[in-house]
């Protein structure tokens, strides 16, 4: 355990300003740590890892890590990731998005990336709110919850990222939380290594925007809530309303880039 932090620091861009931009208690930092630990555990060379991020709090993650990093436009991260992966299938492309990025403005890109089964890892940091713009309602905000744009409680039903990704045909679908760091590490490694399109949803509390508006007294309350209200999917019983975590879908279809190379090979005249 002891070298964890040392290791993380090895992967950070030290000419970048730390502490990072995330608020006190923001789960994004924990996910960032998990990402670095996973890449290290898998022994992926830094040069072969590409982090493609969208816009929002999660988007800022890219700048801190010493990989190839691309901070794209709001919602479009997956389209860039698709281009990068197809252009150079050797690369491990990890796409970091928030719930607004992945489910709202980039919702179409998400389902098509899943349908296409492009070999990209989509890491969706779901904090159930638009954090960077000041706490507006997102497509993951639970019905009835408060935000700057749902001052009387959200009327809309939120997306279930896992169900959406499953239905769209993603090869690997999993969920964890920033409270369950060990589980997050394991799933992250699986998600990165699984061929085809992988979706990993990480529930990360947003104490500043979501917590304050929804009667969480402090950061710790939000993590306690995560602890109490999530359950491993294997242990989920009938009638349990807690949020299941774990692996939800594991298919074995080849990624688009593999199918494409095969096509290219088949079109090659025999030499």
């Amino acid at each position: 355990m002891s070298d964890v932090t040392k290791l993380i620091h090895e992967y950070l861009r030290h000419n970048k300003k730390f502490p990072h931009v995330f608020c006190a208690g923001c789960g994004h930092g924990i996910v960032l740590g998990s990402l670095v630990r996973s890449v290290h555990a898998l022994q992926l060379p830094k040069d072969n890892v590409v982090i493609v991020a969208g816009i929002g709090c999660s988007g800022r993650m890219a700048v801190y890590v010493d990989f190839n990093t691309v901070h794209t436009a709001h919602g479009r991260a997956l389209t860039f990731a698709t281009g990068i992966k197809m252009a150079n299938p050797e690369l491990h492309v990890i796409c970091v998005m928030g719930d607004g990025d992945a489910l709202s403005i980039g919702g179409n890109h998400l389902i098509h990336a899943a349908r296409r089964n492009i070999g990209v890892t989509a890491l969706i940091l779901n904090n159930q709110i638009y954090g960077m713009t000041g706490g507006q309602c997102s497509p993951a905000t639970p019905q009835g919850d408060l935000s700057m744009t749902s001052p009387y409680g959200s009327l809309e039903q939120p997306f279930d990222t896992v169900e959406l990704a499953k239905a769209a045909g993603a090869n690997f679908v999993a969920r964890s939380t920033s409270f369950h760091a060990n589980q997050l590490d394991t799933l992250m490694q699986q998600a990165i290594m699984h061929p085809g399109f992988s979706v990993l949803e990480a529930l990360t509390p947003c104490p500043t925007q979501y917590g304050r508006k929804n009667k969480f007294r402090n950061v710790v309350d939000m993590y306690t809530w995560l602890k109490k209200n999530t359950v491993k999917v294997e242990k989920l019983k009938e009638g349990d309303t807690r949020i299941p975590t774990g692996v939800f879908q594991m298919l074995d279809r080849p990624g688009l880039e593999e199918r494409y190379s095969e096509l290219r090979r088949s079109l090659r005249p025999e030499e």
């Binding site: 355990m1 002891s2 070298d3 964890v4 932090t5 040392k6 993380i8 620091h9 090895e10 950070l12 030290h14 000419n15 300003k17 730390f18 502490p19 990072h20 931009v21 995330f22 608020c23 006190a24 208690g25 923001c26 789960g27 994004h28 930092g29 924990i30 740590g33 816009i55 929002g56 988007g59 638009y130 960077m132 713009t133 000041g134 920033s178 409270f179 760091a181 060990n182 104490p207 402090n218 950061v219 710790v220 993590y223 306690t224």
Partner: protein, 106 residues
Amino acid sequence: MPKKKKGQTLVCVYPDWCKGCGLCVAFCPGKVLQLNALGKAEVVQPEECINCGFCELHCPDFAIAVRPKVSENGMHIRASCEPGETGGAGKTSGSDVTPQKAVVEG
């Protein structure tokens, strides 16, 4: 897996990076840490650390390191956290300190 044996470790907190969220304080099984007057985490009962690693894994700011007192080769015995070992403030040289560039987007 971490050994549940007390007193084998040093818990180091880098106050410059700590934002005082209190996660480590709240979830530490040994109550090793506390928030000080400045709102930063501080080690108050180092001997109670059971090396579970929760604080290190869950510090969103990479501001905590849990290190064994005896280093890998068994020779060096540490009494305190040394700068440079853990990156962060130690690794950032003085000349690199620029005013925080806050860029807001939306």
